[in-house]
Amino acid sequence: MELGEKIEVTLFRYDPSTDKQPRYETYEVPHRSKMRVLGALESIAEEQGVEFAFRYYCGNNRCGTCGVKVNGVPVLACWEPVQPRMVIQPLDNFTIVRDLVVNLDELREAIERLNPRIVRKKAYPGFPENITHEEMKHVFKLMDCIECGLCTSACPAVSVVGLKEFAGPAAYVKLAMKVLDPRDEGERAHQIVDNGIFCCTSCLRCGAVCPQDIDPFQDAIEPLKRLSVTQEVYKHSRAYTAFEEAIAESGDVNPTVLVRKIKGLKMVTELPKGLWMLAKGILPIKQPPNPGLDEIKKTIEAARRQE
């Protein structure tokens, strides 16, 4: 974009205490050098004298208070370059306070529920503690989290079940930071499961929006799910172990075999669906054996020895 060129900004306006429903207002602002979304909002508020609610503090991708949605994607207003046409809305999955401001206390509450503090059983050994870089390497990246809530706002599982049922990716980043810390001795599996981690559908949207390049799914949620499944605290842990078992036995995973492994006799409840699938010719009852099966078995054994 050329300097001075007009940027079209459409703002979401809504005050829940007086408005029946949200409305949109469109403004034009001149493009400036290195302009960010926050600059455009400031220009509307300060130069055009429009009164509307938006929030910021540090202006340099550290405080995490200025999250908004720009053309449908959650971003930090202070760090996101402007686009020629922008629809700016409040973050999803949180209650709207007014206009672009959402109630981030809901995020803090979700984090608090997980009690992300180091829990010790043994006495504190004194400072500095005997920890290595190797032991801390998974934790360091998570420490970059600025609690802006963009990941939680982008989470499709939170949006269908709500923050009460699933604490969301940000809260699990904060928890993983402690659980993966070698000093933590807390027993976390129940807490992890009870706050809904298995509602996560593995969509990876959280990592796509993180302004600190954390991948909450791979860096926090996967290790925590692993912990709950290996300790068999999650009631459906069998679904995970059965999957690996199926591969080790037949190389491929046949959904019919998998469901039988997981549900056992309860599989009868799936009968109507099974018959319907059979009628449509999509129920895989028997699959030809995988020609690579012997080698797959050998590879799995060899890989397990390496672990």
């Binding site: 559908t201 990876l204 949207r205 679904a239 690996e244 997981i262 010719g281 080698e295 590879t299 390496q306």
Partner: protein
């Protein structure tokens, strides 16, 4: 010139979603893409083995990369997004890092295999846009599909994680829209759920989350006037089609909408008879829609 790619259909395409496999083979044959199927390949471990044994799972994906490399094709093509993710994840680990590759090769060496780190993983939109290309697809067009209002559904693991791909925006993908509109002269509907999740990976554990996810995507597509949903991923097809009844019930809806794998739509547009595209192997049959629209 024939394009040669190593072909890894994935478990769903070998079982519940055979239709996608059939259609992909026909489409590739018609467009001059030679598929070298990796018959010895097994499951990539999906999202489940990443939890139970992440290192073993990566080795399984590494083995698939090695099988692909041995064909001499250097591109590994899959029609399942999650397979693509696991394979691309393994490739990002083994292609760049020699130490990791040595660890992999110690395991693969026991079966006399090795991986040199040369394989690129591609999905169907990538194959059609980048390898086959606009001109060749246009030359092959035989049928007008512009009567169909199509809702493209991207699924998750074809565009995310952002560090592993680079083909398109991880939150606002456009490849399938471009394919349908520009390559196939079809009509797409815009709807907000197209880069959300189909909920496949919680179907056997947290059903409600899956049903609500499926229901939201489908309702959103229907509300925006779509006749059908098209996705490049076999797992998305299974979630959106096979579990559609449960999902629509969960959201108290009353509608049904056919779900096509992208290969089936492309096949239709390039004039492959419907009988050869697996159109009968759906829970929500697309046949009525096709008859109504004369496609």
């Amino acid at each position: 010139m024939t394009i040669k790619v190593a072909y890894y259909p994935g478990c769903e395409a070998k079982t519940v979603n055979e239709a996608a496999d059939e259609a992909t083979r026909k489409v590739c044959e018609r467009l001059g893409v030679e598929l070298i199927e990796l018959k010895d390949a097994g499951c990539c471990g999906s999202m489940d083995m990443r939890i139970t044994s992440p290192d073993v799972a990566q080795v399984l994906s590494g083995r698939i990369l090695a099988l692909a490399e041995a064909t001499g094709a250097y591109k590994l093509f899959t029609i399942c997004n999650t397979c693509a993710f696991n394979l691309v994840d393994a490739a990002s680990r083994y292609n760049k890092n020699e130490k990791e590759r040595q660890t992999l090769n110690r395991v693969l060496g026991e079966s006399g295999r090795a991986y040199k780190g040369t394989v690129d993983v591609i999905t169907l939109p990538w194959l059609l846009i980048r390898l086959v290309g606009y001109a060749a697809v246009r030359d092959a067009l035989r049928k007008n599909i512009s009567d169909l209002k199509i809702a493209p559904f991207y699924g998750c693991h074809m565009t995310r994680p952002k560090t592993h791909y680079g083909f398109e925006h991880p939150m606002k993908p456009t490849s399938i829209d471009i394919l349908i509109r520009e390559f196939l002269d079809g009509e797409t509907v815009d709807y907000p759920s197209k880069a959300l999740c189909c909920g496949f990976h919680t179907l056997l554990t947290e059903e409600r989350v899956s049903y609500l996810s499926i229901g939201r995507v489908l309702k959103n597509a229907v509300d925006n006037g779509a006749d059908c949903v098209v996705t490049p991923c076999t797992q998305c097809v299974v979630a959106l089609d096979v579990y559609q009844g449960e999902a629509v019930k969960e959201i108290n809806g009353k509608f049904e909408i056919p779900i096509l794998h992208l290969s089936q739509l492309v096949g239709l547009a390039i004039g492959i008879p419907k009988e050869e595209l697996g159109f009968k192997k759906h829970i929500v049959s697309p046949m009525k829609l096709m008859e109504r629209k004369g496609a």
